[in-house]
Symmetry: C2
Subunit: 246 residues, 2 copies
Amino acid sequence: MMAAQSLESPLGNKLRAFGDWTDAELAILGSFSARRRRFCPHQTLIHEHDAADDAYLVHSGWTYTYKMLPDGGRQIIGFPLPGDIVGLSNLALEGSAFSFASLTETEVSPISSGALMRALSIESKVARAMLWSAARESAVTMEHLTNIGRRSALSRTAHLILELAHRLRQIGVDTTGGFACPLNQHLFADALSLTAIHLNRVLRQLREADIVVLRSGRVVIHDYDGLMELAAFDPGYLSPPKRRVL
Amino acid sequence: MMAAQSLESPLGNKLRAFGDWTDAELAILGSFSARRRRFCPHQTLIHEHDAADDAYLVHSGWTYTYKMLPDGGRQIIGFPLPGDIVGLSNLALEGSAFSFASLTETEVSPISSGALMRALSIESKVARAMLWSAARESAVTMEHLTNIGRRSALSRTAHLILELAHRLRQIGVDTTGGFACPLNQHLFADALSLTAIHLNRVLRQLREADIVVLRSGRVVIHDYDGLMELAAFDPGYLSPPKRRVL
DNA sequence: CGGTTCGTTGATCGTGCTCAAGGCTAGTGG
DNA sequence: CCACTAGCCTTGAGCACGATCAACGAACCG
């Protein structure tokens, strides 16, 4: 009976294509729906930057995930619908990369990291590290999304430069004052959703303001604080968790 | 010795924050680097839409991931650096959500789905389904990124409407002719990185062209083919794999 | 009723695009 | 040594897409 329920749910519809499900497998899937919680419209289930100990399987209702910018801008990442699982990647992160809110009345099942790990039957540090790695990649993509969607050309150029500097530092490259960078302006432009011509003018602004200079395969940072402020950069989304997650 | 090597590599630097690593754990991590392949600059390692049986751990060099649009536009998703693992999510997908290319000379280790699953010590259909779910979410976000970065307001509005229609259909909602949709124009605008005012004008265009109408919580599609063409929509990234992956 | 939220329209402005041209530098061959 | 090429970078002029500011209308609800 629980089995039947599973395959007739929105999640079941999505997963039907995976072939036949044994009763044992359906029981595990069904266990995700054990606890149910109901939310009124416009409730926030996950706050950006907060620790998210649960992911959520959506049963009914419309929801949305989003990021806010310091200036009040909002970038909606997506609209999770019934059958979607929201925030799997948060389980591997110290703070959520996005906020998650109900749009209509919504019914969800929280999925704890413990329940997920038991369902996947994994419990190893390597697994946690891999999942963190995947989760970080996803957080970086979301950051790019809000960067391109809601920041000015100048600000998002600054943001990308800082992202690269921080990621290089994490793998042991000394970036004080700058770093080697083989990107030409065309690549940069395609990453920032600008034309190479306009990027060029942006780089000139950064150069003339004595903030950062790109030339011949090298990024030279003259005013790190100014760059951080321009970009409203918060490196949290790149860092490995300090406390044990998953 | 392999242990020492592991923690001094770029990946090791990133993962050091996970605490002490036992020799056994380091051996598994080290096994990811067993096979190595070298690539000249500007080689394509993963083609968008192609099956990607391997993920890649980058050892050295700069690389980039991107999506192309029919009109020749390119959206760069990110710049994987040494220590990053590229394409984990592809292992759960039938076709890669992006292309992956070397920028400089690059050294990588392919990670097969088998190797990954052994490392995570999982082998269950539930796990595959969960990982597919996470991978699809990631593919959707990348699609949003290129949508916002490289498409006109009109085209990306059409694209989002089609995404919602297809996802609803996957969970059993009948969307022929339209669907119920509680999004107001402000939400839509924030998802599309437009102002609500401009979105309103875009919606008027779509209405006056008899393509699609949004009104009072309902999307009515009058010209499905026209909408598909406007959006250059390819639903592949939403579908569950038809062949067995992972 | 007044208040609120949402949708609609107009007028104007500006960021970033397009088209076009020219300037560097490195590499190649005379 | 110079001529020539090919990439890449730089700059200018004009344009357009979408933002901003400001109102007003419609529906809903206390």
